[in-house]
């Protein structure tokens, strides 16, 4: 019996889908059986980032409405040997086509076959959010170092804390620009974690490679040489229970030189 993790944020465009794709990929790289579930009905794009769009035949709404069996709708990621699958969202249906009860049932049955079910949540706190959270055991909240994103993350954490079946959420801070943080032009990691007071599970740099990779349908986590990839792989290892220290800010982005300077007390 696997576990289901919902990736959520409140605010749109902070990197939920990118995080879902990369955490899923990184877990599969660790040899886990993973099913990605896109619950953003009407605005699906997890399939695009994964490069699986062309292989979609059925979708989540087809499964829920009984037009096909779950396994018929799952799209296999050929880069992995039977480890990574995607259940795509419907592109056409109405958001209310699925109920939270149906979602829970669906996720529960996926948990029978997969080690991890990663649920990509739509923006907002309405119907789509409730669907995405319905079957989850754990939650990861994604935010960027911006006041409005942190505010929405706080709102979502408040809602998640009321979900009896969901463990206390963990935090990913995405799109960090270390020079802006150091200059105080962006909220820093400490400020964000004390404000939200939940455990940090990872920080990811703002990295053009992430966008390039997504546009090619190759999640960055597949590329072993990028900082962002290491960040996502570290998050996956922490999910698996390893205690991987956080990358120092200077290593999240940029070289190690500035860290050395700091060590020697040079400003």
């Amino acid at each position: 019996m696997g576990e289901a993790i919902v990736i959520t944020s409140g605010k749109g465009g902070v990197g939920k889908t990118t995080t879902s794709a990369n955490i899923g990929t990184a877990l599969a790289l660790q040899g886990k059986r993973v099913c990605l579930v896109d619950t953003d009905i009407g605005l699906r794009n997890l399939d695009v980032i994964m490069g699986l769009e062309n292989r979609i035949i059925y979708d989540l709404v087809d499964v829920v409405e009984g037009r096909c069996k779950i396994h018929q709708a799952l799209v296999k990621d050929k880069r992995f040997e039977d480890l990574l699958y995607l259940l795509p969202a419907a592109q056409t249906s109405d958001k209310t086509a699925v109920t939270p009860e149906q979602m829970k049932e669906l996720v529960d049955s996926l948990k029978q076959d997969y080690d991890y079910v990663i649920i990509d949540c739509p923006a907002g706190i309405e119907h789509g959010y409730r669907n995405a959270v319905a079957g989850a055991d754990k939650a990861i909240v994604v935010t960027t170092p911006e006041v409005s994103a942190v505010r929405d993350a706080d709102r979502i954490i408040g809602l998640l804390e009321k979900e009896e079946n969901v463990e206390p959420p963990k935090l990913v801070i995405n799109r960090i620009r270390s020079h802006m943080m150091k200059n105080g032009d962006m909220l820093d990691v400490d400020e964000i974690t004390t404000h939200l007071s939940i455990d940090l599970i990872g920080i990811v740099a703002d990295d053009d490679e992430v966008i390039k990779a997504s546009n090619h349908g190759e999640p960055i986590a597949l590329n072993p040489n990028s900082k962002a990839s290491i960040a996502y792989r570290n998050i996956a290892r922490r999910i698996l229970g390893e205690s991987v220290p956080l990358q120092p800010l200077d290593e999240v982005q940029g070289g190690v030189f500035s860290k050395l300077k700091k060590f020697f007390g040079v400003k």
């Binding site: 709102r155 404000h195 007071s197």
Partner: protein, 226 residues
């Protein structure tokens, strides 16, 4: 047939006080009050307005009965009604009073979009984040950082205070007085261990926590001791 008086009228500098016997029936009381009022009418004719209060001892009057007494008084030209003072409280009134006296402690974070309410004093062991709100009939004590909205004395208590370990609220309200935070709190502005109260000018003042012991001595509930 008549023996003792059920209605005793006493004049004080604040007006008349009517002591109503609490053993006789309400009907007798009403009748006697009416008699007394008509009897005394002439005497007061040219006097200025006089306040009439009641002391009703151990009698319990329903709201309708109280209103009846008030109407009797109001019918007299130069009389206005003061308060009706009884030794008796209903269970609901007592429960309400106890709730208002009570300190409720809560350990959590009040997050954006959340509201935490208490009838009496509120002791929050945690933060109030921006967009979050705490409301209390009495005082509010935040053991963490107050960065959202706090509203103390929500039923009208002007003496209510708000204190916080880190005082960076977006808005503070005490009773019906509102104050907004400065647009930015500077980073080196720690705002630690502060309190908010309504000052003599009727505005909300923010000061060191320690001023409260002088300004609101009634915050002390500990009896005895040294």
């Amino acid at each position: 047939m008549k023996k003792t008086q059920n209605v005793l009228i006493k004049g004080t500098k604040d007006g008349l006080i009517l002591h109503l016997d609490d053993q006789c029936s309400y009907e007798d009381l009403k009748k006697e009050l009416l008699d007394k009022l008509t009897e005394n009418q002439r005497v007061h004719k040219d006097y200025p307005l006089i306040t009439v209060s009641f002391k009703i001892g151990n009698r319990y009057l329903t709201d309708e009965q109280k209103e009846e007494l008030r109407t009797l008084i109001r019918q007299e030209k130069n009389l206005v009604v003061g308060n009706i003072d009884s030794n008796v409280l209903t269970k609901t009134e007592v429960e309400k009073m106890m709730k208002e006296e009570e300190i409720v402690s809560v350990a959590r974070i009040v997050r954006s979009g959340q509201v935490l309410e208490a009838t009496g004093d509120l002791l929050l062991i945690g933060d109030v984040n921006p967009g979050g709100k705490v409301v209390a009939g009495g005082n509010i004590y935040v053991m963490g950082a107050l960065r959202g909205i706090a509203h103390a004395g929500v039923y009208g208590n002007q003496d209510a205070v708000i204190s916080a370990s880190v005082m960076k609220p977006s808005q503070i309200r005490i009773s019906d007085v509102i104050t907004r935070a400065p647009d930015v709190f500077l980073d080196d502005d720690k705002r630690e261990m502060e309190c908010a109260y309504i000052g003599e000018n009727g505005q909300i003042m923010i000061d060191r926590l320690q001023v409260l012991m002088h300004l609101r001595p009634n915050l002390n509930r500990l009896e005895g001791g040294h």
